[in-house]
């Protein structure tokens, strides 16, 4: 690895100061499970001279789950803390879907949702799920903080709308309305330690047998995880049942613009979008019915 400097920021202000003064050559690091590999592999998209460790910043380590205020996940909170949290398990069970399948147990000791989002891989397993949960990212910069819907963060493979001098502080999920259920399902050839060929994150709100709201998002089928409006439109206002689910699944397949690569052909991925969206919707509906 080329030479890097290491800074351990203790506050948000300190981190932003270092980021601002590094001419775009500083990178925040939480678990480092993507960043260190990219630096080691000389990834041209990760051209950094300075690594800013943000794990000691209190604001980025908040994990607060409250049925009245929602879920706040600090940007540096490692995955294992998320899936071991009793309140998250109780009130946001679908969040566990993503937290427990990124990497393996060893990676989960370090990796974070914040890192997964900022890394902006098309296959990021947290991202469709956060989109399905109406996640809002809180970002701090030299001029204060701003809130951005998660679906507006990723702008391209490993590119985000977060500035070089900005820092993701947390991701905030609002309190779900009644009749809410969500699910994230991905398809991988191996059962663990794999990258999604396709991932589908969905949520539904069900009232009196109808979908009153829905969110559908896909990973690994476009340069960024995508929000699939047509799939949502196929659900909202419709009776909960196979017909609406299939229309939404078909819309997901149509919205996907995948490439062919070592993980699967474009055609196969489009097919999987249909299968996984359907399966994820059925799982989300089950959770909605169980009141989870």
């Amino acid at each position: 690895m080329k030479w890097i400097d290491y800074e351990n920021a203790k506050t948000v202000d300190e981190a932003i100061k270092i980021l601002s003064q590094s001419g775009g050559k500083a990178r925040p690091m939480a678990g480092g499970t993507d960043l260190i590999v990219q630096l080691r592999n000389k990834d041209p998209r990760t051209d950094a001279d300075v690594v800013v460790d943000i794990k000691d910043i209190p604001d980025l380590n908040v994990l607060q789950c409250d049925p009245k205020t929602g879920l706040t996940i600090g940007a540096a909170v490692p995955l294992y803390k998320i899936y071991n949290d009793d309140n998250v398990k109780k009130y946001f069970p679908a969040i566990i879907d993503s937290a427990s399948l990124i990497g393996g147990v060893l990676i989960q000791g370090r990796a974070s949702f914040g890192g997964n989002l900022c890394n902006a891989a098309p296959s990021g397993d947290a991202i469709p799920n956060l989109i399905a949960h109406n996640g809002i990212a809180t970002i701090a910069g030299p001029n204060g903080t701003r809130d951005v819907p998660v679906e507006d963060i990723c702008t391209g493979p490993r590119q985000t709308s977060i500035g070089n001098d900005e820092l993701l502080i947390s991701i905030n999920l609002p309190v779900p309305a009644a009749g809410f259920g969500a699910s994230y399902i991905r398809f991988t050839p191996r059962n663990e330690m794999d990258i999604a060929v396709v991932g589908a994150g969905v949520s539904v709100n069900i009232s009196e047998g109808k979908f009153t709201a829905a969110r559908v998002s896909l990973a690994s089928v476009a340069p960024t995880p995508i929000y699939v409006e047509n799939a949502v439109n196929a659900l909202v206002g419709e009776t909960v049942g196979d017909a609406a689910i299939q229309r939404a699944a078909n819309a997901a397949r149509e919205a996907a613009k995948p490439i062919s690569d070592m993980r699967g052909t474009a055609e196969y991925r489009k097919h999987l979008c249909e299968v996984l969206t359907r399966r994820a919707l059925n799982a989300a509906i089950e959770r909605a019915k169980e009141g989870k």
């Binding site: 398809f187 059962n191 663990e192 794999d194 699967g264 196969y268 299968v275």
Partner: protein, 755 residues
């Protein structure tokens, strides 16, 4: 099942704790990358980004000028004795002559690079990071050429040529034709035209497989010190320290007497650590710097710059009578050698029909160079590719004949006296017993779960003999120190120690086995070819017999009787005639010094009594009909092992070979882009099975004693990787109704097979 002997062994067949166990569960064992010595420099290797290119120039000046860089070497640093030949292992354990220049050029390129990952230059520096920075400063100018990436492309007319000097050997004669086909050979038995005429049914199909890697967890590594006295000392993880020594002698043009190779503990090999890669580069760097130089490959280098096994294009045609008798068989097989000639097609051709007694057979083999890494041995090299075709064709034949697939195989099974298509006649083998064990096994007898598919297959692999040496020194407390030269890659030093313990009638805990360096033991061939427990075990047997004989003679001299009147059993030397005259081996050992000095036994063997091994699999799978994903629900491995010396480690070989075969069948592949760059050169994207991808792997040990070994041993390391790919393909076919003609059976491929 034991169909052999009922010999009452005291040590063989027990499951002692391995002698190196404590070191290996506490982190104390020293593997190659763990080796350290004063003044150590770190080396890194520059590799080609192009799959096929001419090297116009290499400028190392900037790299040499970097702070901390001590030396840079390139192909120009090889000694200048061209046109030499070297002996290399061909994958069956046989040493064959190869072009020394090719070997050198594969390790540090000459005027061409032949695959992405081809080594070009080595750098030694004070730290691995500085060495790596220096690589980026080496300027190589290339003339990029069109890459040839598949057998079909390589054999096409007007294909780009990898080696302008390579002409096809056509049935043993130099054809004079420049091409990418290095060799075409045939094995013939009977007359296949007549055989096919006599057939009631014929099956014919083409199969394709792609390059896969051995996947050992420890990367290639080596440390070299070219000392001021001209002696070269190398420490490395290798399957054969003497192969390293002899290869270094050829490549560096120095006598073997000037080279000492110390084998460290080794973190897996499966054939891939028979060839050398970084050792000679480290040696050249050490010669330039006067310091010891260590090189450890990265995982990416392991994938791109070491030796995987071949992808293949295989056509199988079988004809049979309606009663199931196979009347004719033809195999056409072309296999990727990688950048230089030497694919495992030779072994594949020997193995493809080996399980069956077929009257009329023809095998065509083609060794084809492509712009991918030079292949190296991988566990039964070539045989899994061959079996993937042959054993699926057998199942197709069984279905046409409406026969049980095991019954069809039993109908045609090879037995003692069967002549293989490549010439040799089998001695006592256990193919029939393996099939019978499968047929009667609870797995095969159990009803299939609704929706699951079931497949079976069998496979063959040779054993080899070759040189092994063993020394035994008796300690005064009656224990023995056993030294041998076979790299212990999976518990073999204990199996070898068990041979000596059995002979001497002492507990195996009283044997202290050590794997030692090339200065310390007689020539010992590679840990490969399923030979280690067979041949080095035999050397231990002979060395222990030597100790036993000397012990009896010593007792005879102490008692002043004729040694013929004594024998030694269960560690006690006693008179056949006088019941008063007896002494334990321990007692004798305590008196050695006073009665003529220490006792040491020794043996060097080259055993000829090799017996091949057959393995069979039964596998149940489920297939997700929407995604195509295959799940292994139940897996059973049956293998004829001759005599299981240490059954736990025999089972371990069977389970390990099975798991590698499962990975090969389902997900493993070199995924190359159209420029010939490997897209998945990490352990994330090269998907070897994790613990969550496999079920428990059931084993059934069959013991048909090998009459060519004093304890009936057959080598067990390799045959078990032969049947998994076809057994799984047959199971997936059973579940989906579609024939699987290519590997790997990725979810997308399985789903597409129905189209």
């Amino acid at each position: 099942m034991t169909s052999s002997d009922s010999t009452d062994y005291k040590v063989l067949g027990t499951r002692p704790i391995r002698h190196d166990g404590a070191d290996k569960v506490t982190g104390r064992a020293i593997y190659g990358p763990d080796f350290d010595t004063a003044g150590l420099l770190h080396g890194k290797i520059l590799r080609s980004p192009h799959a096929h290119a001419r090297i116009i120039s290499i400028d190392t000046s900037e790299a040499e000028a970097l702070d901390g860089v001590m030396a840079v070497v390139t192909g120009a640093d090889w000694p200048n004795n061209s046109n030499g030949t070297s002996m290399v292992e061909d994958g069956t354990g046989t040493e064959i002559e190869s072009n020394s220049n090719w070997l050198r050029e594969n390790l540090l390129a000459g005027d061409k690079v032949l695959y992405a990952g081809h080594a070009i230059a080595g750098v030694a520096a004070a730290s691995p990071h500085v060495a790596e920075e220096a690589l980026a400063l080496i300027e190589v100018k290339y003339e990029v050429l069109e890459p040839v990436l598949t057998i079909q492309e390589a054999m096409a007319k007007n294909a780009p040529i990898l080696h302008e000097g390579l002409t096809t050997q056509e049935l043993g004669e130099d054809s004079g034709v420049v091409s990418n086909t290095a060799d075409h050979f045939q094995h013939t038995k009977g007359n296949i035209e007549k055989g096919f005429e006599a057939a009631d049914v014929v099956v014919e199909r083409e199969y394709n497989t792609v390059m896969v890697h051995q996947g050992y967890i420890e990367p290639h590594n080596g440390t070299a010190l070219w000392n001021t006295d001209g002696r070269l000392h190398v420490w490395c993880s290798t399957q054969g320290s003497f192969v390293v020594r002899d290869s270094l002698s050829d490549l560096l043009d120095i006598p073997v007497s000037q080279i000492r190779v110390t084998p460290t503990e080794i973190g897996g090999g499966f054939g891939g650590k028979i060839p050398i890669y970084v050792e000679p580069v480290a040696a050249l760097l050490s010669k330039k710097t006067g310091s010891p130089v260590k090189i450890v490959m990265s995982r990416k280098e392991v994938f791109e710059g070491s030796g995987p096994t071949a992808g293949s294009n295989i056509k199988i045609k079988l004809g049979a009578k309606s009663d199931g008798t196979i009347t004719a068989a033809h195999a056409w097989m072309a296999m990727e050698a990688g950048g230089y000639p030497g694919s495992p097609v030779g072994a594949a051709a020997q193995c493809v029909f080996a399980a069956y007694d077929i009257e009329n057979a023809l095998v065509d083999g083609y060794d084809v160079v492509v712009n991918k890494p030079k292949t190296a041995p991988y566990r039964a090299p070539g045989a899994p590719n061959a079996a993937f075709g042959m054993e699926q064709a057998m199942n197709e034949l069984a279905e046409m004949l409406q026969m049980d697939p095991i019954d069809l195989r039993l109908k045609n099974v090879a037995t003692e006296g069967t002549r293989r298509v490549d010439g040799p006649t089998f001695r006592r083998i256990g193919a029939k017993e393996v099939l019978e064990t499968m047929r009667d096994h609870p797995h095969y007898q159990a009803a299939k779960t609704e929706g699951h598919g079931r497949g079976i297959a069998i496979g063959f692999w040779f054993n080899i003999g070759f040189d092994s040496a063993c020394n035994i020194a008796v300690n005064s407390d009656g224990s023995i120190n056993l030294t041998e030269g076979s790299t212990d890659i999976g518990g073999s030093r204990t199996s070898i120690a068990m041979h000596a313990a059995e002979v001497l009638g002492i507990p195996v805990e009283d044997v202290r086995p050590s794997v030692v360096d090339t200065d310390t033991i007689g020539f010992t061939a590679v840990t490969g070819g399923s030979r280690t427990t067979f041949a080095t075990g035999w050397a231990a047997y002979e060395a222990a017999q030597d100790v036993k004989k000397q012990s009896i003679e010593r007792a005879a001299s102490i008692w002043d009787v004729d040694s013929d009147t004594l024998n030694m059993e269960d560690g006690v030397i006693k008179s056949k005639t006088d019941s008063e005259l007896k002494m334990t081996f321990k007692e004798l050992a305590s008196q050695m010094s006073d009665t003529g000095g220490g006792i040491t036994g020794r043996a060097s063997v080259n055993p000829k009594g090799v017996g091949g091994s057959f393995a069979g699999n039964m596998v149940d799978v489920s297939v997700d009909d929407e995604t195509g994903k295959v799940t292994i629900e139940r897996f059973t491995c049956v293998q004829d092992v001759g005599k299981a010396i240490h059954p736990s480690y025999v089972e371990g070989q069977m389970q390990g070979g099975s798991a590698q075969g499962i990975g090969w069948a389902l997900n493993e592949e070199y995924f190359m882009n159209d420029q010939g760059n490997m897209a998945n050169s990490s352990l994330l994207d090269y998907r070897m099975p994790t613990s969550l991808d496999l079920p428990m792997i059931d084993t059934a040990i069959v013991e048909v004693a090998n009459p060519g070994h004093p304890f009936g041993v057959r080598g067990v390391g390799e045959a078990n990787i032969v049947p998994p790919t076809p057994a799984i393909a047959n199971a997936v076919s059973d579940a989906t109704g579609n024939i699987m003609t290519q590997l790997p059976l990725t979810p997308g491929a399985v789903l597409d097979s129905g189209k």
